[in-house]
């Protein structure tokens, strides 16, 4: 019967060993224990997508994952998207195309975009829209976000 647990995680290539309350979610762990505040917490029930990050190579909602469940995993957050995911071009295209305004959805939006591109998917607007359908943007940025993803895929193909 345990209310706290010691976990070992790799975050953006760095190893951490921390004691956590078992009820603490992964997003709160990253933000409050590790000071990695790039991961945003929006709805806290898996709908908005702002807290999306990479857990063992696949996107996951960090608000729906307990920190204790992440024991032994490799996590990549927005702080590591350039170094660990080579996403500089995607980030540049988000910036240049105004694919963000307030930036709240951006960490999750980038995570889903990176996964879409990594899986070798095409620069097809409809497919991109379906893939990022789990990420809310409330600043009217969807068209520019789809543009930025498609542009990145096209640039990488050339």
């Amino acid at each position: 019967m345990s209310k706290t647990a010691q976990i070992t995680v790799s975050v953006n290539g760095e190893k951490y060993i921390e004691d956590v309350p078992v009820r603490m979610n992964l997003a709160d762990f990253l933000r409050t224990k590790l000071g990695l505040t790039g991961t945003h917490v929006g709805c806290e029930h898996g709908v908005c997508g702002a807290c999306t990050l990479f857990l063992d190579g696949r996107t996951a909602r960090s608000c729906l994952t307990l920190a204790v469940q992440a024991d032994g995993t490799e996590i990549i957050t927005i702080e590591g998207f350039e170094s660990e995911k080579n996403a500089s071009d995607l980030i540049k295209n988000f910036h240049q195309g105004n694919a963000l305004q307030c930036g709240y959805c951006t960490p999750g939006m980038l995570a889903s975009s990176i996964e879409y591109i990594e899986q070798g998917n095409p620069a097809d607007r409809q497919k991109v829209k379906e893939y990022i359908s789990g990420n809310y943007c409330r600043c009217t940025g969807y068209q520019a976000i789809v543009d930025a993803i498609c542009t990145t895929i096209e640039e990488r193909q050339n």
């Binding site: 019967m1 009820r23 979610n25 029930h45 997508g49 696949r58 994952t65 307990l66 789990g134 990420n135």
Partner: protein, 279 residues
């Protein structure tokens, strides 16, 4: 919006899980993918005494192909189902339905056993299991039993799986030559819970099984619709209209997305579309 206090256990063997489940004092709740349970805990709709994390039980993460069935371990995640060659080959309805189950990040974590065990009325997989006549393998300290999908889903968040039992496998019959499958759902946003949806399986002898989701207190077979469609080779507009009108048999229940009347209207539309898109 934080989960209430609980204790956490991550057993390494099935017998350890069953031991925990058999102790009523622990008020155990099984944690599979957590994609529905965690929101329910964050909303304080669920407050388990002990959360039993199943991710350490490797035997629950296996897909077996037998002569006539596909046996899917309860902890198989949606994305694993989506990319599995045997599922594509032998369970085309699952492959058709999965892109509509929530969003990519949710499908990376959510499990088939979790979806079945929760029995959310708006979830797709219970309806898939109903129309495929699947069986659910349930394990407890008393042994292993098989429950047909037809008697498994009791009501909203209520199944034939007791508190000391664990879903271990979902057993789907392999698709037969001449079988066709249909699926259609309408949701406000791609990947959101459907306002209404339907799964259809058609056998070579033109028997059809029709299961709706998002319309009632659980996924539900529409036997009246099945009777009208049974043996009919040409699905004329009149037959489809008759089938739509027989939906009165269902006790439609509203949710945050739509009231009962709207649900009924949408159910008629998804039925007609799914029938026309059968393949």
């Amino acid at each position: 919006m934080k989960a209430p206090d609980f204790s956490y256990e991550k057993p390494n063997s099935l017998s350890d899980v069953l031991n925990l489940l058999s102790d009523d004092n622990l008020e155990c709740q099984l944690l599979a993918g957590g994609q529905s349970l965690m929101p329910m805990m964050n909303f304080r709709m669920a407050s388990p005494g002990t959360l039993v994390d199943l991710s350490g039980i490797s035997e629950l993460s296996v897909i077996n192909v037998t002569d006539d069935a596909i046996e899917i371990g309860a902890m198989i995640r949606y994305y694993e189902l989506q990319s599995h060659e045997s599922i594509k080959k032998h369970c085309p309805l699952i492959t058709k339905v999965l892109p509509y189950v929530a969003h990519a990040a949710i499908r990376n974590r959510g499990t088939i056993g979790g979806s079945i065990g929760l029995s959310d009325p708006a979830a797709e997989l219970p309806a898939v299991l109903l129309c495929l006549d699947a069986k659910i393998e349930i394990t407890s300290q008393n042994g292993v039993r098989l429950e047909p999908a037809s008697s498994f889903f009791k009501s909203i968040y209520e199944t034939a799986c007791e508190t000391d039992e664990l879903i271990t496998k979902i057993i789907l019959p392999k698709a037969q030559t001449g079988q066709l499958f249909g699926f259609h759902e309408i949701a406000r946003r791609h990947g959101d819970y459907a306002m209404a949806g339907v799964c259809i399986a058609q056998d070579a002898d033109l028997t059809r099984r029709v299961a709706f989701f998002g319309v009632s207190s659980s996924a539900i077979r529409a036997f009246g619709v099945e009777k009208i469609l049974s043996g009919v080779s040409e699905l004329s507009e009149n037959i489809i209209l008759d089938a739509q009108n027989s939906l009165d048999e269902i006790e439609f229940e509203g949710d945050m997305n739509a009231g009962p009347e709207a649900k009924k209207h949408i159910a008629k539309i998804v039925l007609a579309r799914a029938l026309k898109e059968m393949k």
